[in-house]
């Protein structure tokens, strides 16, 4: 540690004002604060500070995402070998998935952090950690077969136009990862929906080559619900074996990389709630709003499979749980007042189910619901703040 500190101290002068590498000051600063807690002391104001900072906050979210990632990697391998009808060991399955997912992570981080570093340097501020989470979310919410160049383009678009133009981390209106996904969804719809994108049927770096079995169909459970001719749909996996609610909960089903396992997501949710980084109010009300809306459709809905899809299955299949736990609770784009969080969460849940049931085009509504409510979050807050102001005015008048 001492040697590392000495090394940092030795190269530091080059990056400071007047040094020959001054251009890379922000980058250096980013690495220095990554290595060592800054020893800056307070000049005015409180003399002691809570040990939390934005790095710690972001790293906790990443840790919370790891179960979903690990499971997602395994599931990518599992679906692949299931489609091929091959029996392989646990580790072969996992390694196949890990190798398939890793390039997505590398591209997402590489492009996003690259832009982040450049912008920080141009603006002369510290590198902000926000993208550490966004960059981790992006690989988890795209289909495994999304071409890497598309991920790169979409990530660049989201970071520049949804974040940096607004002023960087903390200033954005929309969730960055969801903008990336929305960009992919609308720009390259054939790669983001349908029956062929959710399972990798080709090989990965030469691993796992083979031909798919005859019974194979890559439709996701929600895809099956959306296209079902009858109101009572029997969900099946990719080789036409029936699956149940429990299968959906555990998550060995086709879908975006990290969204399939409600179990892994709930482990992450527990960590986010214990560390109090995510608001339990938002998280709870998304589930409550979704369940309630689905119940309404179950009872009075139109005669479609989506409307009669049981409310508990709505919460487990598709991206609902992932969105509720990791996306809706993004503090920057969510409502910021305590009352507002209840309303915001409940509306996301309800809206996601409405889109699933009533919109014939999209089997999944979570992404659009969250993005829609991102727009309305400031409006919700506005009315909560306004009520505080009115209370104060009223008090002044009655006195």
């Amino acid at each position: 540690m001492k040697a590392l500190k000495n090394l940092v101290d030795k190269v530091k002068p080059h990056f400071e004002k007047g040094g020959k590498l001054e251009k890379f000051h922000s980058v250096f600063d980013g690495f220095e604060t990554f290595l060592f807690v800054p020893n800056t002391t307070s000049k005015r104001g409180t003399h002691i500070h809570d040990a939390i900072d934005s790095k710690r906050t972001m790293i906790m979210v990443i840790i919370a995402l790891i179960p979903a990632l690990i499971f997602g990697m395994y599931n990518v391998g599992y679906q692949h070998y299931l489609a091929l009808g091959q029996q392989v060991s646990f580790w072969d399955t996992f390694i196949f998935g890990a190798l398939a997912v890793l390039p997505l992570i590398v591209v997402s981080y590489g492009v996003g952090l690259g832009i982040e570093f450049i912008v920080a340097q141009i603006k002369g501020h510290e590198i902000q950690e926000g993208f550490l989470v966004s960059g981790f979310l992006i690989p988890l919410i795209v289909p495994i077969d999304t071409p890497l160049w598309m991920v790169a383009v979409a990530t660049a678009f989201a970071v520049i136009f949804a974040k940096e133009v607004f002023g960087g981390t903390g200033m954005n209106i929309f969730n960055i990862a969801l903008i990336t996904r929305a960009f992919l969804f609308f720009a390259y719809p054939t790669y983001m929906s349908g029956d062929t994108v959710w399972v990798r049927t080709s090989d990965t770096f030469g691993l796992g080559a083979g031909k798919v079995v005859d019974a194979y169909s890559g439709a996701t459970p929600l895809g099956q619900v959306a296209t079902s001719a009858t109101t009572d749909v029997q969900l099946v996996n990719i080789i036409k074996e029936p699956i149940s609610f429990i299968d959906g909960f555990i998550g060995l089903i086709p879908g975006s990389v990290g969204e399939t396992s409600t179990l892994a997501i709930l482990i992450g949710a527990a960590l986010l709630l214990i560390t109090r980084i995510a608001s339990w109010k938002t998280m709870f009300s998304v589930f409550a709003g979704g369940a309630l809306m689905a119940l309404v459709f179950n009872t009075w809905g139109p005669d479609t499979a989506a409307a009669h899809f049981p409310w508990y299955s709505h919460l487990v299949f598709g991206g609902f749980a992932f969105g509720a736990v990791f996306m809706a609770t993004d503090p920057v784009t969510s409502a910021r007042t305590e009352t507002g969080k209840w309303i915001y969460g409940a509306l996301i849940g309800a809206m996601a189910i409405i889109i699933r049931v009533l919109n014939p085009g999209y089997p999944e509504g979570m992404m659009l619901a969250i993005l829609l409510l991102n727009i309305f979050a400031p409006l919700i807050d506005y009315y909560v703040v306004e009520s505080n102001i009115k209370r104060r005015l009223k008090r002044a008048k009655t006195n």
């Binding site: 020893n39 003399h47 900072d53």
Partner: protein
Amino acid sequence: MANLIKSTRGLDIAISGAADKVLHSYVLSDVVAIVPDHYHAITPKMLVKEGDVVKAGTPVFYNKAVESMKFVSPVSGKVLAVNRGERRKILSITIERDKETVYETFKTASFDTLKGEDVKAALLAAGLWLYIKQRPYDVIANPEIAPKAIFISAFDSAPLAPSSEFVLSKQMDDFQKGLDALAKLTTGKVHLGVRNVTKLYEGLKNVEINHYQGPHPIGNVGVQINKINPVNKGEVVWTIHAHDVLFIGRLFNKGIVDLKRKVALTGPEVNSPAYYETITGCQIDKLILGKVTSNVTHRYICGNVLTGSKVAGKNYLDPYSTQITVIKEGNDVHELFGWAMPRFNKFSTSGTYFTGIMQKVFGVKHFDFDARIMGGKRAIIMSGEYDKVLPMDILPEFLIKAMIAGNIDKMEALGAYEIAPEDVALCEFVCTSKLPLQQIVRDSLDLMRKELE
């Protein structure tokens, strides 16, 4: 119990070094100083010059804006120097004190016959007015505008704060007289906020006593005002620290300005934290030297760790401070990968550290603190952090944002009249984005005052 007001929002920081209830003998440096910068928003006009002989209570300068508002010498002696800085700004007035203090006498008519105007004139002339502050703006009260009420908090809930019961005991005559004098200044009530059920405050007259329960900042007078009689636009409330009421009491009891006070020497780096009797303007070194740990770089703080000001040993005790805190500076600490380490000895209100488990399961009472900010400054990211530590009917995040934007109408609407920098000190402590909230509030209140007065 009459008027018990409870609050659950707030935070008691687990830091070691509270003062034992032991009073050490009178300590005072040979040279005492008056520093105009200790009084916020005052332009001093000198009344003495180098070499003048002054008594305790002799005016040294007055406030340019309110000529009757005098600032007096706390000791008797000879004016050593009037130190000036850039553009002849007065930095400090140093006075070499006599061995025996000679007091200026302030004669008043019989106390019972005094009217509010007389009390006010006496306080202004005796240099005690500066202890009365006003909301809005948290500045020395404008004597021209009558307050709707006067608030005194008889307990300080800040980290390691001195115990008011200990400080006030044996001085209740002066305290009561001070309250009597304050009662004459307002047509409204004088509110005294009390935490513990003690016999000490029983039988006090001319005040309305309210009991409070909860974590810091419940002892902040701003929170108590918000709970009982909030400040609306166009209204003024005066506040005074309980310990400073004693000075007013002494003026009317004895006819002298006696600024002796019990100051608590506290903090994790003090060997045996205790109380010391001293006087405003005493050199800090005199109070601290030999009483703190060695081998670390210290930070001396006049006041508590949240709202106090950083001072050097050569500086002087400011008139509002009732405690001195000594902590580690910490600028020589370089923690590797601190953001990822468990850091069991660190205190945090978030669940990202083990603070809660250490406190509840292992019974840890004190954590390791130093003056580091522990992170980089960011835009506001987390929501709801401030609300948890500000027990007022205010939306702090939105108020702060209005302040950063300099939007005076919004600040007014969101409750800027009710708030003082000290009220957001805990918000600043817990802030993930490490924003200087007290500074933001102070600057905004000054801006509002400039624009609206």
